[in-house]
Symmetry: C2
Subunit: 210 residues, 2 copies
């Protein structure tokens, strides 16, 4: 145990540094977007990317989210990475390490050239290098896929990292304390069953970096 | 490439099987809970566990979520696992593999014995075996930590798995197609800096199963 790196105690904190907020957003692929319909909240998961000072949310035209944005309903969009389980000596101080950003605002459904460009930005941000390899959307496909732009004007972020923050009186406990770290990892790319023979996994996918 | 397991094409689908829904919920630790305040949605991440036909959400007493539930505001709670990136030959069919559950309803803030038991259930569900090792909450600590119970009566679930579902005309493409799989993995437990010497990592944490 003596040789093992020990994890420092650190508490939860609000984050206002824009670089750190961007980093949290850039590590995610799926957000949970909430809107209000008939005075009730609805939350749905959807793919997103950050594009400068905005998020671009990917949505089907038929989705309630896209309709809500079209009606100028306010949104609340959350992105959370779960980094570990904080195993404290008391139940009260047991917790999770995480990084989380919540964005509030009214989205805008992109149209015309902005819409087409945003679809390209989504592909190229999720898989840098991919855009030149794919078939680009037809007019009909573009019409079926909405992109919601949401400004990063109103953003709050929270991070908890480090070890448990136990009460001094609990430090004599015989219970183990520390952190079980979690990470989302990408595995080796798996070819489609209908992939033609002789097409290698492209460099931009091996290894894919989340 | 010939020896490699190929991934079958499969599309997105709604899920109504309760066992599969429970499995999705049991694999998660953090949900995104949305509520409405002043006609605006607010989404926040919070720890949860499933307890039979209910979710138990962990909340600070001072949180807007707990206040909203106390006011009988409706909730929408989403849990999503992102399983991979679906790399199709067209931008339009590129997508993500995921499993997602959304629960709607009005939560109930637990009190008294129900509240104390629920705090135990949260600890023991997140880390089976841990409950007997920790210091149990004092009256003051219990008062600071709310537990919201939300029935799983109104649940919808969606899963996308498998390879890309490309248009037949795109199958002659020279572009690679398939899936980059993702998984959330737990690493080796890291001891706290203030852990007394000679306390080994307990069996229930090695390896911790997400």
């Amino acid at each position: 145990m003596g040789e093992k790196t020990r994890i420092h105690r650190l508490a939860e904190r609000g984050v206002t540094d824009r670089r750190q907020i961007n980093q949290i957003l850039d590590e995610g692929l799926v957000c949970h977007a909430a809107y209000v319909i008939d005075d009730r909240p609805v939350v749905i998961p959807t793919l997103y990317v950050r594009n400068g000072d905005h998020l671009l949310l990917h949505g089907s035209n038929s989705s309630g989210l896209v309709r809500a944005v079209g009606d100028r309903s306010p949104l609340s969009v959350g992105v959370t990475h779960i980094d570990g389980l904080v195993v404290a000596r008391s139940g009260f101080h047991s917790s999770a390490n995480y990084r989380s950003v919540v964005v509030h605002g009214r989205g805008r459904i992109l149209a015309g050239e902005e819409h087409r460009k945003a679809l390209d930005v989504i592909v190229e941000t999720l898989i840098p290098g991919r855009l030149s390899d794919i078939r680009h959307p037809t007019e009909a496909e573009t019409k079926q896929t909405s992109v919601i732009e949401l400004s990063l004007d109103e953003v709050s972020a929270k991070v908890r990292s480090g070890g448990p923050a136990d009460d001094p009186a609990d430090l004599t406990s015989d219970a183990w304390a520390g952190v079980v770290p979690f990470s989302l990892v990408a595995g080796e790319a798996e070819p489609a069953e209908d992939l033609r023979d002789g097409i290698p996994i492209p460099d931009y996918l091996q290894p894919y970096q989340l």
